[in-house]
Amino acid sequence: MTTLTVNGTKHELDLPDDTPLLWALRDILGMTGTKFGCGMALCGACTVHMDGQPIRSCVTTLALANGKSITTIEAIQADPVGKQVQEAWLDVGVAQCGFCQAGQIMSATALLKKNPKPSDDDIDSFMSGNICRCGTYNRIKKAIHKAADKTEV
């Protein structure tokens, strides 16, 4: 039995220990905002926060997530930094196909929590694990700067 707190709600899941967290989120808890991209922690589409840290949920097993607090895109607007990031995303008009964007926003939020005023290099470095095939990187960078400018230090 795995105990997870997802977006503030406690869940008890009776699933094999090696079940990826992403499967539990999407197929069991019905939170489909987090996406499956590659299944190898190489594209970033499945990024969620575990105890505040960005992780790839497609390779994080329930055994590893047991007892942890998970935040997904569905609840990121409740986080003041996350909300600023979402708003900046809308202001800049980042998303094209949108499929990677939940992961991008989760990574960007984690970056700003760690580094409220990131430089271009900080952004490139932190965000380089999140692939966007539509190539929205330029606007992602703009949006992160914009969110940083609005966030109280």
Binding site: R26, G33, T34, T72, W89, L90, G98, I123, S128, Y137
Partner: protein, 818 residues
């Protein structure tokens, strides 16, 4: 299994112009589940926003995208009893299948059934244009590539299906495959006959020219890597029909092929696409195989079936951008002006035709890029190999033809010791030299103006001097600079595809629903259509909803491809609006006793003589007056034709143009590089939505840069794809974006009659990335004092750049320039 998500958020209205800080209101009101939202009275009212055509309106799904609420196929709540499918593919590129035993597969946990060619009730071949793509390999027949589907397994869960698919016992008689393009050429194996576009006497022109150059190269393909992999979800329908939710750019083809495979009339099959998580051409024909296989299972089991490809399987078993081999002979004068060109373009088609005819044709049509070629002969070849059938990819062969001619231009420049931009400008289409090699006349003024404007704004010549100084001062790290133009023909080269339909409904509350034949893959088509419709009725864009593309609403649609989505569907929607408006105007004139000319629609209102009526109230009046408030609009592109026999015609309605200037920094010890700066000026006509267009330009450039630099497809000698995951295939990341990236629109009304006088934007800007490749070649050439063009076949990976640098150094050493 799935819980239904907080459902009220699905219905959010999200098309809205972004005004300064308006989004915070949008977010706070819309992102929360309804019960948690502030009461209307206490919430700040969102100001009415126009956002109609020409204005920067945000993507219609933007709010859903940032909140995880945009529904892709895998997010659709599954019906109870939904089964999952996995495919079993051939282990060999070319082998006769002599036995298939599924005993262990059927005994595996959760397995419901296995389906093979024998279970297909109708047509087995699902080739989109020509035959050659069997849904399953039949026992006794030869396989055509590694991973080609032999059978599918249906199980209760996805994991069970994938696990069981590995348990089949397949016996093969293994044969020797042709894996490389050259092997196909050597074996004289072709999927389609050759095609020639000739103009004048190329050989004579080349031979009588002052200078000649003969060379060639090889251009690698590209994996689409749409973030949302191939997927479909098929439900049993009435009377043995099926309802297919597919991630496809071509729902009509999915419908047609599923109907043929099941031996049903088309009216029993519905294909539906709300949005794709990226397409890029990879879902034009490739989505149909999944839909057909899943439909076969649904037909037999009468239960819902979901079929999604694991990423590795997707990268192995779906088609990619064609590799191209090009060889040329060019004749030119002392100014570097081309007098004759003989070029062969051979596209690696893989095992079947798929869309290769159009793709190789388009490469041939773009063998001029932006240059007047004078006398020419362009030969297109379609070699067959035992690899997956290559398919559409943004640019559809055009980019490969353009890389080839840009290599020619670089070769001419180096051989004359001139700057490549000088040679580009001298060959650019110009007055008196304004007819393409296939006989289509064009207006050269846009190209001329785009190139000269960018030449100035990017400060090309000052930077050229700076690059030379930098290179003189730095022996190991060199800079490269290039400015390259783009001219891309707009229209499907298959004439019949240049048509579209749209359905517009106006309801009595003044809200408007649009359905059209185009699909949304992130390019913002739905947003642009909504803007066009809002513009026609003079209403706020928030009045307009564009609904999921469905074959039972608009029939016989064309694929959303060839950058044509807005041109075709936008015009069809406009025509539908015009019909309704005509009815409304006639009603208003009669009802208010004024002349029709005194009726107009703007600002969400209807002006009837001296009276002003709210649009919604007017719609209700019109309904009560028994005025038809729905219409179907149709559009077909005029003027286009092409005669394959003569290789001449007017295949494109118009051309989209652009130019890019890129500067790179190269490390001669490792071949690694960085793009320091890129300046782009791109022609979108009169933009329907400048924000979306700039997003398309930036994204296409990045994708093109990936193709030409880091994205390297690799096969082993047995025909197995080695680049089968993001670990072995390098897609651009945030790191790879030019350090300085300036994108500007060249906004001049399209001179031909397109919707809003805009121009297509999906594909053309991909080819702006040729500037990066050319700049890398420039940096390499600096090691030979720009007297030699070392071969740098794209993708110009660091390994290839290193090799090109070594070649340049060798040339310099042997010519006493070391």
């Amino acid at each position: 299994m799935r819980n239904i998500r907080p459902g009220d958020a699905f219905a959010e209205k999200s098309s809205a112009i972004v005004e300064a800080d308006s989004s915070s209101t949008l977010l706070s009101e819309n992102l929360l589940p309804k019960r948690q939202r502030p009461r209307k009275s206490s919430a700040k009212k969102v100001q009415p926003k126009q956002g109609s055509a020409g204005k920067p309106s945000i993507h219609e799904s933007a709010i859903k995208h940032v909140s995880g609420l945009a529904t892709y196929i895998d997010d659709i709540p599954e019906l109870s009893g939904t089964l999952h499918m996995a495919a079993g593919g051939s282990a060999h590129a070319r082998a006769k299948v002599i036995a298939m035993n599924f005993e262990q597969v059927l005994a595996a946990p959760g397995v419901v059934d296995v389906f093979t060619a024998e279970d297909v009730p109708g047509e087995l071949d699902i080739g989109p244009v020509f035959s050659g793509d069997p849904l399953f390999v039949t026992m006794g027949k030869e396989t055509q590539f590694v991973g080609q589907t032999l059978f599918v397994v249906v199980a209760k869960t996805y994991e069970q299906a994938c696990a069981a698919a590995k348990l089949a016992d397949i016996q093969y008689e293994v044969l020797t495959p042709n894996v490389r393009l050259q092997e196909g050429l050597d074996a004289q194996e072709f999927v389609l006959p050759e095609h020639v576009i000739a103009n004048g006497d190329a050989n004579q022109a080349i031979n009588s020219a002052e200078f000649q150059l003969r060379d060639g190269g090889y251009i690698g393909g590209q994996e689409h890597f749409y973030l949302e992999g191939q997927i479909c979800y098929v439900l049993p329908g009435e009377d043995n029909g099926v309802h297919v939710f597919t991630s496809s750019q071509h729902p009509t083809e999915v419908q047609k092929l599923v109907a043929e495979v099941l031996d049903l009339p088309s009216h029993k099959v519905i294909a539906e696409v709300r949005r794709m998580g990226g397409g890029f051409g990879g879902k034009e024909t490739q989505a149909a195989a999944l839909a057909c296989a899943a439909s076969v299972a649904v037909y037999h089991l009468q239960q819902p079936v979901k079929f999604r490809l694991p990423r590795k399987h997707d990268m192995e078993a779906t088609g990619k951008r064609h590799d191209f081999k090009y060889d040329y002979e060019v004749g030119f004068n002392q100014d570097g002006v081309i007098e004759g060109l003989n070029m062969t373009l051979a596209g690696l088609c893989g095992c079947s035709p798929d869309l290769s005819q159009g793709i190789v044709d388009r490469a041939m049509f773009h063998a001029d890029n932006a240059y007047f070629i004078n006398q020419s002969r362009v030969l297109g070849l379609c070699p067959r190999t035992h690899t997956v059938s290559n398919t559409a990819f943004r640019g559809f062969g055009g980019p490969q033809g353009m890389v080839a001619i840009e290599a020619v231009i670089d070769g001419i420049a180096r051989s004359l010791g001139e700057d490549p931009l000088t040679i580009r400008k001298r060959n650019l289409y110009r007055d008196g030299a304004d007819t393409t090699h296939y006989g289509q006349q064009l207006d050269p003024s846009v190209l001329q103006e785009v190139v000269s404007t960018l030449e100035t704004s990017s400060e090309y010549w000052a930077r050229r001097e700076a690059v030379k100084s930098f290179n003189a001062a730095n022996p190991f790290v060199k800079k490269g600079l290039a400015l390259t133009p783009v001219k891309f023909g707009i229209s499907f080269t298959a004439q019949h595809l240049n048509q579209a339909g749209a359905l517009v409904h106006v309801y009595t509350d003044g809200s408007i629903l649009v359905n059209h034949g185009g699909t949304e893959m992130g390019q913002g088509l739905y947003t642009k259509i909504a803007q066009i419709v809002a513009d026609e009725f003079g209403v706020d864009v928030e009045r307009v909803q564009v609904s999921a593309t469905r074959t039972d609403k608009v029939a016989n649609t064309s694929p959303t491809a060839a950058s044509s989505g807005t041109d075709l569907n936008g015009y069809a929607a406009k025509n539908a609006c015009q019909e309704i408006l005509q009815n409304l105007k006639a009603f208003a004139a009669a009802h208010y006793n004024v002349d029709v000319s005194a009726v107009s629609f703007s600002n969400d209102q209807v002006f009837v003589g001296e009276q002003v009526v709210n649009f919604a109230d007017f719609c209700l009046q019109a309904y009560k007056g028994r005025v038809p408030l729905m219409a179907y609009g149709f559009y077909k592109t005029p003027k286009i034709y092409y005669d394959r026999d003569s290789g001449h015609g007017h295949p494109f309605f118009y051309f989209a143009n652009g130019a890019a200037c890129s500067e790179v920094l190269v490390d001669s010890f490792t071949g690694e590089y960085k793009v320091l700066r890129t300046d782009i000026l791109h022609d979108v006509g009169k933009s329907v939505n400048p924000d979306l267009d700039i997003g398309q330009i930036e994204g296409a450039f990045i994708q093109g840069m990936g193709w030409l630099t880091t994205e390297e497809l690799l096969w082993d000698d047995q025909g197995r794809v080695m680049s089968n995951s993001p670990a072995s295939y390098k897609i651009p990341t945030a790191f790879d974006v030019p350090r300085e990236f300036n994108v500007a629109l060249y906004e001049r009304e399209n001179s031909v009659d397109t919707v809003f006088n805009s121009k297509a934007v999906g594909e053309p800007p991909l080819m702006l990335a040729i500037s990066v490749w050319s700049a890398l070649a420039d940096a390499c050439a600096s090691f030979a004092n720009y007297q030699y063009a070392p071969r740098l076949d794209p993708p110009a990976t660091p390994e290839k750049v290193l090799k090109a640098i070594e070649d340049a150094k060798l040339f310099a050493a042997s010519n006493g320039q070391a």
